[in-house]
Symmetry: C3
Subunit: 329 residues, 3 copies
């Protein structure tokens, strides 16, 4: 941890007192801080059960959904989280072609700051975009990474951790198996970082050789290429969404072949523990990554993940904002 605190990622995400300022990646955050996010999310999880599903925490704040890559689903969860915190939300879809030069992106940013935006939720096809923006915002502005290229999707990882903790209470004794296209998945990268930092007993990835990242040996995971060994005695199974465009290239066989080898069925799941939970970031490709019987079955917690996503995003947004309100700079 001492070494980590000197990394640039860490100083950028935290303020001088070690509190969350930006939320860009799991990497660089301590176990305490991740646990703090999960605990705060726990306090927000009951808000939707109230008759008036709102808390006045961020009333009068301006939160900008700055999406350089279209994603109705992710944008919607952040928009709902912001509205339930009583913030004003501005949705801006930036045509990437209009911002090919970094300068122009910065001009867009400076203009929105001049309009007194308090927080940017950034989605971008390029890895590092949210970091780049966080490096350039004013002291009182926070940046949340809503997915950047193949790099990170930290709020997705935290809602996954929240879901695991709710069902399994702890991480130390768990075997967690992640199945799919690890190579291109920002979700998997953030999940592995979070699982490691939270002290997960054993983390496995199951992936075709063509979709294994070169740095797999340094990730702190066991690599499997066959589903059966990967699933053996697993407590948690996380599937990744398969991008159909991978099959157009040479990286993958047909959808049918993928399903035969890596698609999750009740039969294959027999190898896992009886109380295994099944997770997926959505949207699901039924019949490709997963059989409908599994996706809709009693061990699936896929829709709970979606609910928890609102609570976790409310937690991250309010923590980052709380900080910048009290201690600008």
């Amino acid at each position: 941890m001492a070494a980590k605190s000197l990394e640039p990622g860490m100083s950028l995400q935290l303020d001088a007192n070690g509190k969350l300022r930006h939320f860009l990646s799991i990497d660089g955050l301590s176990r305490d801080l991740l646990t703090d996010i999960l605990d705060t999310a726990e306090s927000f999880a009951a808000v939707p059960e109230q008759s008036v599903k709102k808390v006045p925490l961020l009333r009068g704040k301006t939160i900008v959904n700055l999406f350089f890559e279209a994603s109705t689903r992710t944008r919607t969860t952040f928009e709902l989280a912001a509205k339930r915190l009583s913030a004003d939300v501005l949705n801006i879809n930036v045509n990437v072609s209009a911002t090919v030069k970094g300068e122009t992106l910065l001009d867009t940013l400076r203009n929105l700051q001049a309009m007194h935006a308090d927080m940017f939720i950034v989605r971008h096809a390029q890895s590092g975009a949210a970091h780049f923006i966080a490096e350039h915002v004013q002291p009182h502005v926070s940046v949340i990474n809503a997915g950047d290229g193949c790099h990170a999707h930290p709020t997705q990882a935290m809602l996954d951790m929240f879901t695991i903790r709710r069902h399994k209470q702890q991480f130390e004794k768990l075997t967690v198996t992640i199945i799919g296209d690890i190579l291109h998945s920002r979700v998997a990268r953030s999940q592995i970082d979070a699982l490691n930092m939270l002290g997960t007993g054993e983390i496995r990835i199951v992936t075709p050789k063509t979709l294994l990242p070169a740095e797999a040996g340094t990730l702190g995971v066991q690599v499997h290429h066959e589903l059966e060994s990967g699933l053996r005695n697993a407590d948690v199974v996380i599937m990744l969404r398969l991008q159909r465009e991978r099959m157009a290239g040479a990286l993958l066989p047909s959808a049918g072949e993928y399903f035969r080898l890596y698609g999750l069925t009740e039969e294959k799941l027999a190898a896992a523990r009886d109380d295994v939970i099944i997770m997926h970031p959505g949207p699901i490709n039924r019949g490709i990554e997963v059989d409908s019987q599994v996706a809709d079955g009693p061990r699936s917690v896929i829709l709970q993940q979606v609910s928890h996503g609102i609570a976790v995003r409310m937690a991250v947004m309010s923590m980052a904002m709380q900080q910048t309100i009290k201690e600008p700079g």
Copy 2:
């Protein structure tokens, strides 16, 4: 009425106590319930006259405009109605091509429910879409049909009934004439159902033979093919919007020919009663369905219909939601 109460449509729209839960079609609703909607709308009609045009009835509720078919106009009226009830509104335009399979539509729905949506306003090009969605939502979620294929557009019909009642006080002694493309009109279907259920004296349709539905004989209407006989002594005239694409097919002659035969002019209107009111769901095709002199004349109540649309939608939304708040399931 006893027979009706056993129909599937009825049990889906009403809860165990006979209160409104979903609003999918006029068919299956009793005269009392329709009257209840009109009375509730009456209480909301004064809200826009207040200096602060809002009531806190649905504060903290999340209402999703789920539009599978683009319609700025209808979406706008529901959005305004929801905002004046103090709800949070989420606009989602679903690319139909992305949801060709029923499964995927259900996944979209389940995800939005997991985000704690309270109500779906559904617009879809396919008949039965809102029913299908209502069959699959959770017990506390309400569905409002904002137009499905050629099937129904019940909030449009109710704002029309509201407008007629405001001007004529009752339905029993009225002659109401509906003019235009009955075959393809979800508006006409819902209007005819509502007029019948409210006990309208005489309902006439005026339409070219090519645009007469096969089941016209069972609708409880008099069929006319000539405007003059259809208009004779009418108290209320409702025009339908002509879809220009009908003229590309073989169903209709040119726009000029249609106007000559079925277009409403002051001259032709002489056959109707002196205090006739002229209605149209909008947007108007001036010079095709109706002459501007009539559309903008003293007997036109077309813009009042638009105003009433907000009050009627506020009524339906709050009635459906009230129910599900008090008696989930």
Copy 3:
């Protein structure tokens, strides 16, 4: 001033008591009224510094962004201004092709009025569109021109005046230089009107001969075709955005040639006063109108202009609305 009060523009923008009702152009407004706008904006400039960036002035009002020409940037500033006044905002992007006939534009307008819209923010590619709409709205509805063709962009001009007054306190002793495509610029037209009405000492325009308006002699400005003479002892320099499409026609040489002749650099700026301020309506074309060193330098107030834009729009919206609340008609 007496003569001016008889002009149609004046009677349209002001009510019987001389208070602001619509804000369509600077032309027709008195110095007192412009000063009143600046003073009111001053009172709103501190709102974004508050922890809750909102005032309840327009709560329950419905403000419609009616944009016939896409402009995320301008739409965003009006949306934020409206939200900080606690109004409900409706964004409507009208496909111009759907409203080629004036009739149809009026029908759109009448429908939105029937939904009880209180104010239209109008952006349109055609000069005079906002005036046309203001001539046709109901007595209690206000219209704000957010840019019409080459005619006017009065809120932009007023935020510029606000910025100048903040830095220079007065207008009488100032030399203000406007550089660029005067011919096609609605911004320049409104700026020149405002600077004249506020009694600016000397107003200069610097423009290639091909981009000089025919009526330049009547505008109350000095015309320069060379940057150096135009900049000499200037207190305020306003650049205009160069539309790249002008270079495709015969009106302008290449971008490089334009920058060589009219692009603002630190070197050329030496001719101006030491305490000169540099303004630009944005978005900036770096390396065409202006060198980055100047745009980002200590004398640039370009981002302050953006901040002031929110305050000025809040001022104009609340003044126009205040009026119509108290004195409809």
